[in-house]
């Protein structure tokens, strides 16, 4: 396994687009998580309120809310690292190096594992940064301190890593199928920002199929870290990782992995 990770690392370490995208993602993540507080203060200054609540008193960085808050905000940026994976995979097809790798003695499964190890690495790296940000912001702003609170709900950091990994696996299947980075990136953007929302919107409003929409891939992935902010305006809010949500998300992980495997087996390199 170490060998497969090394191979991927040698391939990508001098790829400029990779570093730009990675930097972009982490800057966005840090800016939003640190800047969210200032944003709320700004809203207060503008005289805005949520049903009579002053936005600046929302305890964004208070344990144990903090982990779900941060993970939820981070989920909006998962498309950046997904782009990196798409680029690194489509490079292989463009340069036909995926073929040369196999000719040189890599099995197709090893090729796949090598790519997936990179996806897992990015998801874990993001989780580690989230963890560090959480401890930093918590120690600066949280009014409750102490280890008994700090580690509560910390499972959302793991949920974040899993969420990213499943999303990356989906992106990988897409690029394996399309084989071109441009089209894959546009399709992923369209689906993530628009398409699934439109489809589930129609299903919910026109057909009232509320149960079905939770099975859509993006929604299933997003529900690993549900929107936590409703509770601040007294809406019913899920503040735990639901077992059913986890099961549906893992089902998609299985489907994506199976799809990738099938693409690799079926097609000529």
């Amino acid at each position: 396994m170490m060998r497969l990770i090394q191979i991927e690392w040698l391939k990508i370490k001098s790829l400029k687009a990779l570093w730009i995208m990675t930097a972009l993602y982490f800057i966005a993540l840090i800016m939003v998580s640190v800047g969210a507080k200032s944003g709320l203060d700004f809203l207060t200054a503008k005289g805005m309120d949520f049903n009579g609540i002053n936005p600046s008193i929302v305890p964004l960085y208070a344990y144990d809310d903090l982990w779900q808050n941060l993970a939820y905000m981070a989920s909006f940026f998962k498309i950046f690292p997904a782009f990196i994976l798409i680029i690194s995979m489509s490079n292989e097809f463009t340069y036909r190096t995926h073929r040369q790798n196999v000719i040189d003695g890599l099995s197709r499964s090893e090729f796949l594992l090598s790519k997936m190890s990179f996806a897992a690495f990015l998801a874990l790296l993001s989780a580690v940064v989230l963890l560090l940000l959480g401890f930093l912001l918590g120690s600066l702003h949280s009014d409750v301190r102490g280890t008994e609170y700090m580690f509560q709900s910390i499972e959302f950091v793991l949920a974040h890593a899993l969420q990213f990994f499943i999303y990356f696996t989906g992106a990988m299947l897409l690029v394996l199928w399309i084989r071109r980075s441009g089209i894959s990136i546009v399709l992923l953007l369209l689906y993530t920002l628009l398409l699934e929302r439109i489809i589930t919107g129609i299903l919910r409003l026109a057909l009232s199929w509320d149960d079905v929409i939770n099975f859509f891939p993006l929604r299933a992935i997003n529900r690993l870290v549900p929107n936590p902010f409703g509770k601040y305006i007294f809406q019913e809010t899920q503040t735990f990782l639901g077992l059913q949500d986890l099961a549906i998300a893992l089902l998609w992980l299985g489907l994506f992995t199976f799809g990738i495997h099938w693409q690799l087996r079926k097609r000529d390199f």
Binding site: L10, S14, R96, Q100, I103, D104, G105, L106, D268
Partner: protein, 299 residues
């Protein structure tokens, strides 16, 4: 008989409408330089693609080193298929480092193989800045990593200038002399003749000929002759053991000989027997003709 490095039995492949390979059988022995000869689109690259795990086959089997098809066996083979495939943004050294990790061989061999193909001074430059000849040489350097006993080369001189072609051929001959087994696909008869010991001819996915290059060369000498005493000349030629075949055409005789001799010697032999030739042409490049003949027969 030396050991069999590669055995292919009944290999078939069909792309949607084209039968790319039909029940191909091949056997490549240790230390031979085996040429896979055929016009473009005859199935050479498909064959090599299947043998190297890149293309799925529909039927048949193959075996490397008598051990089957497992992917790890390919680590002992140095191969380039069609165009050289490398990461454009990486330099030569980094590209070879990736290959070394895949082949699980030491990176220490990298400077030596780069030196061998004359790329040492460009080793820190990105692949995308290379000329076609340099890309091809890097591909050969990559194939040499891990000191493989078998090399598979698909059209290694494609797109090179005459000097580049000569260099690559010289390198192949050197590599063969080191005792490596080489499988070389080419559409150039001349190339196969210059570097190979054995060869097979493919046409539309079928093997239509297999033999040694030495055998093929035997058929080389053809004399086109005539004399005023046609019948006398014919009977004289039929007496000689080195004459393989005499074909009669309108105003000439077409004589195939098995023994290489100059036109002067042939003329002298006829004069000694009292036959004055009115026409004597020694046909050169008849290997080409022979090849075309094989292709025609395969139809």
């Amino acid at each position: 008989m030396s050991e069999t490095v590669l055995e292919v039995a009944g290999l078939s492949k069909r792309y949607k409408r084209i039968q790319a390979l039909q029940a191909l059988d091949l056997e490549v022995h240790e230390r031979s330089v085996f040429g896979l000869l055929g016009p473009n689109g005859s199935g050479k690259s498909t064959t090599l693609g299947i043998l190297l795990g890149a293309i799925h086959r529909d039927g048949g089997s193959y075996s490397w080193f008598g051990q089957g098809e497992a992917h790890h066996l390919r680590k002992r083979i140095g191969a380039i298929l069609e165009t050289p495939c490398f990461y454009h943004y990486l330099d030569a050294e980094s590209n070879l480092r990736v290959v070394a990790r895949i082949k699980e061989c030491s990176e220490e061999a990298i400077p030596a193989v780069l030196e061998r193909v004359g790329l040492s001074n460009r080793r820190k430059d990105a692949f995308k800045t290379y000329s076609l000849g340099m890309k091809q040489r890097l591909a050969i350097a990559s194939a040499l990593l891990g000191d493989p006993s078998v090399l598979v080369l698909d059209e290694p001189t494609n797109g090179l200038d005459p000097q580049g072609i000569a260099e690559i051929r010289e390198l192949i001959v050197e590599l063969a002399a080191e005792g490596r087994t080489i499988v070389l696909a080419s559409h150039l008869l001349d190339e196969v003749q210059k570097v190979c010991s054995d060869f097979a001819v493919l046409k539309q996915g079928k093997k239509i000929y297999q033999g040694s290059v030495a055998e093929l060369n035997e058929h080389e000498d053809v004399y086109i002759v005539n004399s005023n005493d046609r019948e006398g000349l014919k009977s004289l030629l039929s007496e000689w053991s080195f004459v393989k075949q005499v074909k009669e055409r309108e105003d000439e005789l077409y004589v195939q000989v098995t023994e290489a001799m100059g036109a002067a010697e042939f003329n002298k032999k006829c004069m000694d027997k009292g036959q004055a030739l009115t026409k004597l042409i020694r046909q050169s490049g008849s290997l080409e003709k022979r090849f075309l003949e094989i292709l025609r027969q395969g139809q």
